[in-house]
Symmetry: C2
Subunit: 236 residues, 2 copies
Amino acid sequence: MSGKAIVLLSGGMDSTTLAYVMAQAGYDVIGLSLRYNQRHVKEVACAAEIMRGLQGAHHVIDLSAWGRQMKSVLTSDVGAIPEGHYAADNMSQTVVPLRNPLFLTIATSIGSSLGAAVVAAAVHAGDHAVYPDCRPEFTEAFTAMAEVALDGMHKPRLRFPFVEKTKAEIVVMGHAAGVPWAETWSCYKGGAQHCGRCGTCVERAEAFAVAGVVDPTSYDDPTYWETVTDFWGDAE
Amino acid sequence: MSGKAIVLLSGGMDSTTLAYVMAQAGYDVIGLSLRYNQRHVKEVACAAEIMRGLQGAHHVIDLSAWGRQMKSVLTSDVGAIPEGHYAADNMSQTVVPLRNPLFLTIATSIGSSLGAAVVAAAVHAGDHAVYPDCRPEFTEAFTAMAEVALDGMHKPRLRFPFVEKTKAEIVVMGHAAGVPWAETWSCYKGGAQHCGRCGTCVERAEAFAVAGVVDPTSYDDPTYWETVTDFWGDAE
């Protein structure tokens, strides 16, 4: 396969794996990252480093003015990032309304302007419980909307290859593709190193464990994840 | 009716009429304008003045970083703004891919965060020929997408009351509502005064004439529109 592929690249494990897989498939990968007043903006620097490794272009679009209007602990200094498992009720505080519709609209409009063959995003099954804009019914509705809104213009194909995959399955794929895990960033707190306690750190540590892949991440609290997952079969 | 209504406000005739009509209906109107590297950015200052007149809040979100990536004569210094009637082939140069999906996503996400009752946009029938993201099939697809993407969150009602109305019909409504036409801005060239020759100036002048409402606009070329419309029944 060939042509340009715009990959929404947060700098996390899933989107980095997607960028690697698409590069291996022969696409000219263009990473697209967004600044949206997120606390963990260091993910954007990680994304830049990842695209240097892939020798692909990297675009960063600033949406901070939008992010400041969003009522989410991710985009505000008020309130604490919740700790625990993604499936817990408190994780809804991390939802940013219509974040994926916004990021995908930007990616698809740039893809149309550039004549890209594909626009891809790494939404996956582990996100479905908390984030409605990661579910298959969303990706289908978005694709239908873009189809009519781009009538008469260049239409990149929209691809969501991980939408039914677990994060552990993505780790297995990324491991095979040679993803430099230590360069990826997950933690919502955006501190010096991964906290090990927020929803995305717990999910990260668990995914490596389930996949049987060595986790190179330095966590402030490296064992917390075991207490809030059922990895050992004894969590509540 | 009551509650907050986010109105996408370009500062043009249609969105200003919509803001006035919704204010008269009892909504607390919040105007939302976007900077997207458009040549006619002076429309944003007009929108601010209009919201001062309505004594409503006005939010401006900067999307310039996105606009610079768009291949459109509206967002680039390269190429000339086409002149003539909107129905002409050359008007496709003014299309910005997924502009309305982007603006509506931003408006709807802010509406969800603010607990707004309504998000409204003034797409109308005169836009259908050139702009696919102004057609009923788009507004329906967007509404369906937002419905699933906001699952579990506050969902503002999406309203497109002008989607089947002509611009002349909007002028009649705006006239009754007391819209200060001289404060509105249409011209894509964004010069000192309206050019009278670009697609949106032609549409503006024609709409006033068809509606039988006095046009207070000063055009550089005040009679060009008559030569490219069939107002007198003798155009090609």
